[in-house]
């Protein structure tokens, strides 16, 4: 089907064909359905982040992309091919960083890279790989003696050794110190600049904010929110907070706002931040009321994530989910 179809040239105005296509993916362990029908696409030069609390199904979903497990239902295509059944076509172009994986402790860093390079179609030079993850100075150290961060970077160098065009990173920076984390981020930026499609999972929202072009929030095996960071943030209302002096009158509540917390500190939620804020400020000016500790903030990815990821609040609205679906599939034509 797809693999032999002519692809649009990079210069063509149309978006490039998706490098990863996941449609209605399902996976079960016995009676437990870990992944319950998720769909997404990732294009070359794009970072797609799957967010979710532990046990949301992120790793189970990625294992199918990685070709390590067959899909229980639905389809997964990597570069147009099935990663399990057409493994030999996909593998030379796929780089995988597992959430946890082992390395024999008694080989040196260079020996480990050289061994892995010997199994690949088009490996980058070992020296280049060492430089890429800044392990040149540790080249002759046995893996056993590396720090956790250094080992993770070696893991990453191995994942990228075959010059992959599709890269799957399962929690790439968990357990890394801030400096190593920034190094990994730089690497991911370089990868997408070179046209790779990157799928990553993380539970660091900061990481998703830094790296991801598009985000999907997974909860109990389903995507409950998806889209760009701005689109996701928009599913949540903006917040206005202020404190009134005891003798001050209460401002009238604008139609477009709801009161969340009325005590000494007032909190309003609204999907029309600017007009509501303007109304509030106009009222305050007119009545000469001081709004102490005034804050007005658009919703953040974190706020949206916290609202839906743990399931403390139901999905904001049916329309948000529909929006998110459109956001995911819109570029396809």
């Amino acid at each position: 089907m797809h693999p032999t179809a002519p692809r649009p040239s990079p210069a063509a105005p149309t978006a490039p064909a998706p490098a990863v296509e996941v449609h209605d993916l399902r996976r079960s362990y016995g009676d437990f359905e870990a992944v319950r029908g998720i769909s997404f696409e990732v294009r070359p030069g794009e970072v797609f982040a799957l967010l979710g609390v532990n046990g949301a199904g992120k790793t189970s979903a990625l294992e199918v992309l990685e070709g390590l497990a067959p899909a229980g239902g639905g389809t997964v295509r990597v570069l147009g091919a099935d990663p399990v059944r057409e493994r030999s076509r996909v593998r030379p172009h796929l780089g995988v960083l597992l959430q946890s994986s082992g390395l024999p402790g008694d080989l040196t860093v260079t020996e480990t890279l050289r061994t892995w390079a010997g199994t690949l179609s088009d490996p980058r030079p070992v020296e280049e790989a060492l430089e890429q993850v800044q392990l040149t100075g540790r080249a002759d150290v046995r893996v056993r003696s590396l720090s956790g961060g250094e080992r993770r970077r070696l893991d990453l160098a191995l994942a990228l050794l075959g010059r992959p065009t599709v890269v799957v990173l399962d929690e790439p920076t968990t357990g890394l110190d801030p400096e190593s984390r920034r190094q990994v981020w730089r690497l991911v930026h370089d990868l997408v600049a070179d046209g790779a499609a990157v799928v990553l999972t993380t539970h660091h929202l900061e990481e998703a904010e830094e790296l991801a072009d598009r985000v999907a929030v997974l909860r109990a095996g389903q995507i409950v929110l998806a889209g760009t960071q701005a689109e996701i943030a928009e599913t949540q209302p903006a917040t206005i907070r202020f404190t009134l002096d005891d003798d001050a009158p209460q401002p009238p509540l604008p139609a477009a706002a709801q009161v969340v917390d009325r005590g000494r500190r007032t909190e309003w939620h609204t999907r029309a931040l600017q007009p509501v804020l303007a109304e509030l400020l106009a009222w305050a000016a007119e009545h000469r009321v001081v709004l102490r500790e005034l804050e007005a903030r658009a919703a953040s990815l974190e706020q949206a994530f916290l609202a839906v990821a743990a399931g403390t609040e139901s999905t904001p609205a049916g329309s948000a989910r529909a929006d998110s679906t459109r956001a995911v599939t819109a570029p396809a034509a």
Partner: protein, 270 residues
């Protein structure tokens, strides 16, 4: 930068042999750095090989073929099989196998590369004993040179797939000491390695001949000395006509092992 999508293709990467070779070299290096493993693999089987004829448990093979037969039998059971179970399990529990599976190597290639040191040591041991036999002046031309080779290579294949299958009920490298016992005990006592099968009661002899290592011993004795399992002396033609059942049993265990090995788990149980 332009973002091009490389269409998937079976690129002319390293051949299967070369990529398994790359993994095998890494594994061999690891093996040589583990002094305990080296000593266990080289010294213990040699001691056992020497002990078998010294026990003089009957059988009337000349010393040369007897030593070589013991060498193959002892190494396959105590070295190849046991080492492979322990290696596969420890690599699985250390999450090394799962990582290997994320690359271009196929599953069987990963296992073959991982098994390489044990398989090479097996061949080395047998060669060492052959040299020793020659040095002792006990070398005699085999009745048929093909049967012993089939026995050695077929035996390596059978114990390898059985080792893969044994990982299904082996959770840790330590527990391999227990889980490998059934095959080790049956193979040493009932394969003709220690006691000649011809001395067994009929029913027991029949059962013994159906066990996985017995055909290896039978084929070696047929090829090296022209002795059938029940003690007859035959020429090359006779050796081949007596080889039917052991060859079939060997092939049967290979199939059984391959089928069982399909249930191999690449990652620890969660």
């Amino acid at each position: 930068m332009t973002s091009t999508l490389t269409p998937p293709s079976t690129t002319a990467g390293p051949s299967r042999v070369r990529r398994v070779g790359a993994l095998a070299r890494g594994e061999l290096r690891l093996f040589l750095r583990n002094r305990t493993a080296v000593v266990n693999s080289v010294v213990l089987p040699l001691l056992l090989v020497g002990a078998v004829p010294a026990l003089d448990l009957g059988g009337d093979l000349p010393l040369g073929p007897q030593l070589l037969t013991s060498a193959v039998g002892v190494t396959l059971v105590f070295l190849t099989y046991y080492n492979l179970v322990a290696t596969f399990v420890s690599r699985r529990e250390d999450l090394v196998l799962q990582r290997m599976r994320t690359g271009e190597l196929t599953g069987p290639e990963v296992l073959l590369g991982t098994a390489a040191p044990s398989l090479l040591v097996t061949l080395g041991q047998v060669a060492l004993v052959a040299v020793g036999v020659t040095a002792l002046g006990e070398w005699s031309a085999p009745v048929d040179p093909v049967l012993p080779l089939v026995a050695l290579l077929g035996g390596m294949a059978v114990v390898s797939v059985l080792a893969v299958a044994s990982t299904l009920f082996t959770r840790t490298p330590e527990s391999a000491q227990i889980t490998t016992l059934p095959l080790m005990l049956a193979s040493t006592s009932l394969s003709g390695l220690l006691y000649p099968i011809s001395g067994f009661p009929d029913t027991l002899a029949t059962v013994a001949r159906l066990l996985p290592v017995t055909p290896v011993i039978e084929l070696l004795q047929l090829g090296l000395a022209g002795r059938t399992w029940d003690g007859d002396v035959v020429d090359a033609g006779g050796a081949w006509s007596a080889a039917g059942l052991p060859l079939a049993v060997l092939a049967g265990w290979l199939v059984v092992g391959l089928v069982a090995a399909r249930g191999f788990r690449w990652a620890p149980r969660r």
